[in-house]
């Protein structure tokens, strides 16, 4: 009865600014979401498809995951990617935090130039950065026959270079909300410069550092173009490997490998968002 009553009750008219309740707007958003997600969802779905041709659904299988996981070169590439991303993240967070504090805290000569230079790796087209590293490592004769993981050095250096300015940007925007009086209060209570930094400034920076780390890890894991120019035959990363597979054909195996990476990113993002929101509430509390 109540269901019927609800159905019979006239729908409340739409107020002028309730754009989201308008049908054309909902249709539009729905179509955009379809546009964004349909390709990815079919990609994931067809990684379970029991057919090599990958067009028509033939039944559920995990065969291609088995294949992908048993593909030694693919797994090696994945390991390389994760190693590089981990190393690049740690270094980028340190460098980015230092750079952020430098730009936020101090007045110094040529500061405008320093700020500009720090923003450059963000805006320079990837391809230009890629060729610059190609030329640079060739010019200095970076050794290519080092044992693992040292052979990943060139790629890691390149990744740190384009990741740490992003970290610096995120951390610096976090620092602008810092109340300098907190630090002065710590010093007033007897803390040294270093203690004040550790006990007051660093906790405030933490959400920024976590966000920056997440960003750096994802950027590094996702990068194809710059890595493409710095990697050698023995230092294939996951995107570079997938690229070489994709160039030839659309196969369920590539779908499976891609799905693995998507799942990995989603897990990492969820963890980071969780940490971040918890940190956010903690920092709001004090």
């Amino acid at each position: 009865m109540t269901m019927l009553a609800r159905l019979l009750r006239k729908r409340e008219p739409i107020a002028p600014l309730e754009y989201t309740r308008r049908l054309w707007m909902r249709t539009w958003v729905g179509l955009v979401m379809f546009f964004l997600y349909a390709p990815l969802i079919t990609l994931v779905a067809f990684s379970f498809n029991d057919s090599r041709r990958n067009i028509v659904w033939r039944g559920f299988t995990l065969e291609y995951y088995e294949k992908a996981l048993n593909n030694a070169s693919l797994m090696e590439a994945l390991l390389n990617s994760l190693t590089i991303a981990a190393l690049a993240t740690v270094a980028s967070v340190v460098l980015g935090a230092l750079a952020a504090v430098m730009l936020w805290r101090f007045r110094f000569p040529f500061k405008g130039a320093a700020e500009g230079a720090m923003a450059l790796p963000i805006v320079v087209p990837e391809i230009c950065l890629g060729v610059a590293f190609l030329v640079f490592f060739a010019k200095i004769g970076f050794p290519t026959d080092l044992p693992w993981p040292l052979n990943l050095g060139a790629i890691t250096i390149a990744h740190i270079t384009f990741c740490f300015p992003f970290v610096a940007m995120v951390v610096r925007s976090r620092l602008t909300s810092f109340n300098r009086e907190e630090e002065e209060a710590a010093k007033d209570l007897g803390a040294t410069e270093l203690q004040a930094f550790r006990d007051v400034l660093l906790p405030h920076m933490k959400p920024g550092l976590v966000a920056g780390a997440l960003l750096a890890f994802t950027l590094s894991l996702d990068d194809f173009v710059i890595t493409f120019f710095t990697s050698g035959p023995n230092t294939i990363t996951f995107p570079v490997k997938v690229y070489s597979m994709v160039r030839f054909s659309v196969t369920p195996e590539v779908n499976a490998a891609s799905t693995l990476l998507i799942v990995l990113t989603i897990i990492l993002t969820t963890i980071a968002l969780k940490i971040q929101s918890r940190m956010g509430t903690v920092s709001q509390r004090h």
Binding site: Y19, V32, N54, M102, M118, E126, F136, V225
Partner: protein
């Protein structure tokens, strides 16, 4: 903010490492490329910095100028489509209920976290001859085609798959797919800051929704729109992967030409010149944005 002189030790502690890193692994590599752009191939492995401008003049060759111009057009088309598609989405997020807003934002951002290569690959599967787009169109064709004789039209022939991949359409489609979140997020940020009563005031004074959009919302959200435009245009201009995987032989963009000079043609000086031309184009776009958004802010 304090002067570096008052805390020299602290300043040195924070400034040294990032500065050296930036110089050593960013300025120097770019500097070498810049020098190479004025060089000539002396032998197979040696490049002589001869101070020549011949690499740049070669870039003015109609072939390369055409590709550069085409890259700009493709990036511009991508940007325009992204605005048209993204603006209503940003508006919908701004005016959505508090329950929905974070989920809609997440839904827009999630593809951004997904690997570019994988997203491009997903598009290949959709757009290729035997892909899902053609399959769906074929299904519609076969099922609805049968209805045509009922309304007096001749029955259509067998479905001919559309060539959706390896052409300019595919490149722009792919660039829009990849860059849409970049456009929506700054638009959202700009619209969210807007005082809603300004929109109401405009409606109250007799303007319709479209008029309000043009006369009130667009000028006030201008800084956000401009930064959305640049944040979409710049990476689209330098895009390598999308035209490489989705484009045909005639839809190569400037980044693909640069890649060819370094990896295949082995003409580093020319590639260096091209990559600096691309960089200058990027800087011009960014300078334009800085100028425009400063004007827009001054107007408010």
């Amino acid at each position: 903010m304090e002067s570096w002189r008052t805390a020299k030790g602290m300043f040195a502690a924070v400034a040294t490492v990032p500065t050296l890193w930036l110089i050593g692994f960013f300025i120097v590599p770019l500097g070498i490329v810049w020098l190479y752009s004025f060089g000539t191939n002396a032998s197979l492995t040696e490049i002589e910095i001869s101070g020549t401008f011949s690499n740049y003049s070669r870039a003015l060759d109609p072939l390369y100028l055409g590709i550069l111009w085409k890259s700009i057009l493709v990036a511009a088309a991508t940007t325009v489509i992204c605005i048209v598609v993204g603006f209503p989405v940003a508006l919908a997020i701004v005016f959505s209920s508090n329950k929905w807003k974070p989920w809609l934002l997440l839904a827009i951002m999630l593809p951004f976290w997904t690997n570019l290569l994988i997203r491009t690959y997903a598009l290949i599967a959709v757009l290729r001859r035997e892909g899902y787009a053609n399959q769906s169109l074929g299904w519609l064709h076969d099922n609805l085609g049968g209805l045509l004789p009922l309304v007096g039209l001749p029955a259509p022939g067998a479905y001919e798959p559309l060539e959706l991949l390896y052409n300019n359409f595919a490149v722009i489609f792919g660039l829009v797919y990849v860059h849409l979140p970049f456009m929506v997020l700054p638009l959202y940020a700009a619209l969210d800051r807007l005082d809603k009563s300004l929109i109401e005031a405009s409606l109250d004074l007799g303007a319709g929704h479209f008029r309000t959009l043009l006369a009130i919302v667009a000028p006030l959200a201008a800084p956000g729109i401009i930064s959305g435009v640049i944040i979409t245009f710049v990476p689209a201009l330098g895009a390598y992967l999308t035209p490489d995987l989705l484009g045909g032989p005639d839809s190569q963009m400037i980044a693909n030409v640069i890649e060819r000079q370094f990896k295949r043609a082995n003409d580093w000086p020319f590639g260096a010149a091209l990559s600096f031309i691309l960089m200058y184009a990027t800087f011009i776009a960014i300078a334009f944005q800085a100028m425009k958004s400063r004007q827009a802010e001054a107007r408010q």
